[in-house]
């Protein structure tokens, strides 16, 4: 059996990659996908630790996280579509009305 820390480290790496994706990319949809990656990494952590302690709770959390992610994606993409309609571009750097 693969020791649990391996999974945790892997999840951490995936998470960081997702974070970097969020920070570096300017395409709103790609940023969104990076967020999904982060969510997945978190799910992986949950399941790994659930298996470590022999409980099913980890997997229960993941089920709900999954459902929420799905809902979130649909609404988020709706927002992106709306923004695109307004600006003809999904470069998030153009959404800077809160600039000083």
């Amino acid at each position: 059996m693969v020791p649990t820390p391996y999974y945790l480290v892997l999840a951490g790496i995936l998470f960081t990659i997702g974070v970097i994706g969020v920070l570096v990319k300017r395409n709103a949809i790609v940023i969104f996908m990076s967020i999904e990656l982060m969510l997945n990494a978190a799910n992986l952590t949950f399941i790994a630790l659930g298996r470590h302690f022999g409980q099913v709770n980890g997997q229960m959390y993941v089920i709900f996280a999954l459902a929420v992610a799905a809902a979130e994606v649909s609404v988020g993409l709706g927002i992106i579509v709306a923004i695109f309609r307004l600006r003809e571009s999904i470069n998030i750097d153009e959404v800077n009305l809160m600039k000083f």
Binding site: I20, N27, V30
Partner: protein, 171 residues
């Protein structure tokens, strides 16, 4: 031979590489596809971690529905072409990468802290991640999962309504 380790490492490499590619590539469609690969790898991980049901759900929902939705939107907005603007190595990217490295280091460091000792693996096989296992826990009145389960349905309803309102053309 510890085939589990081999599997682990192969999948690790594949998932990490494909997620890096997802971030690096400029074509959003290719990004989406790389992400699908990553999801599939993770699904296999779930199987190795005795979360069979979750693995199946992952494939069906994430790779099969969510990524499809992403691809629909990408196609809808006609973003197949690479972006015109190109961002050089700005302060933002440099700091982000730097922080990212630190972050990984911190995460690895925290992961290496000794975990609390796990209970001894049970002698008899426990149906942890099977459909019955999940189902029993989900619908059992003794467990706290029933209520969130019902609420999730409302959540999904809200999401549907929200998505429709967001994406509707102004009439």
């Amino acid at each position: 031979m510890a085939w589990s380790f081999v599997l682990f490492w192969i999948l690790a490499v594949v998932s990490v590489v494909s997620s890096i590619m997802m971030v690096v590539t400029r074509n959003p469609v290719r990004s989406a596809l790389f992400l699908v690969v990553t999801f599939l790898c993770v699904a296999v991980y779930y199987v190795t971690l005795a979360a069979q049901f979750i693995a199946a759900v992952q494939v069906i929902v994430y790779a099969g529905a969510i990524m499809v939705l992403f691809l629909f939107v990408i196609m809808l907005l006609n973003l197949g072409a690479p972006e015109a603007l190109r961002e050089r190595g700005t302060l933002q990217t440099r700091v982000a990468l730097l922080l990212g490295f630190i972050f990984i280091a911190a995460l690895i460091g925290s992961s290496l802290i000794a975990l609390p000792t796990a209970p001894a693996p049970p002698g008899v096989y426990q149906p942890l991640g099977t459909v019955q296992g999940i189902g029993l826990n989900l619908f059992s009145p003794n467990q706290p999962w029933l209520f969130p389960f019902e609420i999730t349905s409302i959540l999904l309803l809200v999401a549907i309504v929200g998505a429709i309102i967001m994406a509707k053309r102004r009439v």
